[in-house]
Symmetry: C2
């Protein structure tokens, strides 16, 4: 196994260098409140462990010039972001900068063995490019509920063949490094916390609107998972008893009204009737997705515009309640369907600002993610680096 | 100001003695991982500060008999639990046992000065009984949103005359002790955490159904307040767009459907029509409350039974969404209307177990509070004792 910090001071120094980049010994001393000699001991030990290295001298602050240190440029974290229909694999350096990122279409319903083999093949491509001298840790996201403690999916509805498959232990054995497994939406929230709009926010929500709808919850700068790891499972919150029947068997769930699957269903219905533009797109492409609805709306199709507005309203109705309950400092909307953009966002904002508790919305930004496809892999690297750069007494 | 601990070890020892009661020095040494000599130094210092005292010798564990220590029996915490129509004042010892508890009807709309003077008068009664040699801290709950940092209510809807009134500083000056102010529902949740059904639960929800409806959120054993202190404000979550108009101006809020106020309204309507039993109760008592609806239901009145069932269904619909989102380990139902008891509870459970994410309800107890009227004052004492028994470097 790769080297790990040996006490809390070393762990704190590693996380500082990860989040703030190279720093002089004098600057680090200001932050960590260690005596100069104790700081030197800890940094020397981190250099011996191969986790940190010297990087020249800083400009003088009046006295002797202080040495700059940085994370070893040989540190590598790996992230697998496994979606319902895609795999993304990335490798980052110690500061979580993405050095290489490959992805491909892949149906998660092929089961754990097939999909994880594909992910390892993709990692092999990055390795062949010489990007990975050693792997210090791997973070894995999957599109379903996860027992974080056990490192495995638990009764995941859209992942047949994955129930209680030991993803963490299997990949850990394969790669010889620490591995953590989490829900994909939690990883996106961690990605936003590390590199996105939530960098300075302690308590926030990330709502992912993809095929389904889920929510990542961050409390005090860390993922809140709930007592059985299912926190944020908002896709089946009731919007209206009179709504469409949901895949879960209940009527009127949020996902029965909106999300990629519901939007495709509604667009197909409109294509065979009221919307000639959607009908034309269906004929060209053989199927209709959220992206096509967005294209039709951009071209002025009133039916497509109405579908987006209604979707935004239903998301807003659920989100308004969660904002009243949770009083977050920020809400980020992400996922493929969020690509519908500002028409969707405007409707969500309108409902939340009107229906949530006034104190909770007084200063609440609701924004679209700006990380596009990288939130999941950055979040995976963040998850495992928080673990590797930590120290817990045995 | 009364004495406070001078380092984190002393703070930890005080909280241990508060929560676990008198302990031998040997037992404390097992828990806090201090050397015998260091432990002795810290305990001696706490004795000098008047916070701890010796209490005889423990049975032998094989060697020399170890001395028992306990919190000083002269420690006193005070709690004010200010409701919409009542004040409760209690005094506890250091272990948060209630030594005296007085209350009276009082309309919070009389404003901060009048109501706080009444609370101080009630405290005077307890003082006259000789129960309060000294006050080490006071916790105050009010029925509205609070800026916890500033120690004052902020735009509280049912508390005219209280907006930004400096409750913490005014009472602190009066009593010469540390004071903290919080929302009354948060105090009830802390009371359950300390002395109720949540004693061993880290993440739970307390739903208070009184005149209005609110929720206390406990994350990792501490109150979660949200970024502006309004977390748990669930009374205005939308149940149905076609519902009654709420006092807040929106239609179909939870409180417009249920809670003490809505139940009184619906009972009065039924009394003038379909329910002769409610009509008889109205004639006898001059008004109808949740208690009367409970009496009519117990006597078999089908209209009263229906009102309770419908109320439980609406609470359940909102709670089902929050359970999916938050995945708590326990839900406690409390407040005056919760006195309707098991008919209400059965309906809430039925909806939540049917409509929440299965992983979130797999092992989720939904129970009625067993603390009756004392949750708020015990929670107030817990809030301030957590503060007084803490140490933060300046």
């Amino acid at each position: 196994m790769p080297a790990r910090p040996q006490n809390v001071h070393q762990a704190r120094l590693l996380r500082l260098l990860r989040d703030e980049g190279p720093r002089s010994r004098a600057e680090l001393g200001d932050v960590v409140r260690l005596s100069r000699s104790k700081l030197a001991v800890e940094l020397d030990r981190l250099v011996e462990l191969g986790l940190v290295e010297g990087a020249g001298l800083a400009a003088s602050r009046g006295g002797r010039r202080s040495g700059i240190v940085r994370l070893s440029p040989r540190l590598r974290f790996v992230a697998f972001d496994i979606g319902a229909t895609s795999i993304d694999v990335a490798v980052t350096d110690g500061e979580l900068e993405v050095l290489g990122h490959v992805g491909e279409q892949c149906d998660v319903r092929q089961g754990a063995t097939v999909v994880l083999d594909r992910a390892l093949d993709l990692l092999g491509k990055l390795r062949d490019e010489g990007l990975i001298p050693q792997v210090h840790g791997t973070g894995i996201g999957v599109p379903g509920p996860v027992s974080f403690r056990d490192g495995m999916p638990v009764v995941p509805p859209i992942m047949p063949g994955w129930d209680r498959f030991p993803v963490r232990d299997a990949i850990g054995q394969e790669l010889g490094c620490p591995v953590l497994v989490d829900n994909d939406v939690n990883l996106m929230a961690l990605g936003e916390l590390h590199a996105g709009l939530a960098r300075s926010v302690d308590d926030f929500l990330l709502v992912k609107i993809g095929t389904g709808i889920g929510c990542g919850i961050v409390v005090d700068g860390a993922i809140y998972r709930g007592v059985s790891g299912s926190a944020g499972d908002i896709g089946h919150i009731r919007v209206d008893d009179d709504g469409p029947i949901c895949a879960c068997g209940n009527a009127g769930c949020l996902e029965a009204f909106f999300g990629g699957a519901a939007l495709a269903r509604d667009a197909a219905a409109a294509a065979s009737g009221e919307s000639p533009q959607l009908a034309a797109l269906l004929e060209t492409h053989g199927e209709l997705t959220a992206e096509h609805v967005g294209m039709a709306a951009a071209a002025g199709d009133p039916v497509a515009v109405r579908l987006i507005r209604e979707g935004g309203r239903h998301v807003g109705q659920v989100l308004a309640g969660l904002v009243s309950f949770f009083n977050p400092g920020l809400v980020i909307i992400a996922g493929g369907v969020a690509g519908l953009g500002h028409a969707l966002l405007a409707e969500i904002r309108s409902v939340v600002y009107r229906r949530s508790a006034p104190l909770a919305t007084g200063n609440l930004p609701i924004v679209l993610s700006e990380l596009a496809g990288t939130a999941g892999v950055v979040g995976g690297a963040r998850l495992i680096s928080d673990h590797v750069f930590s120290f817990t007494a045995a």
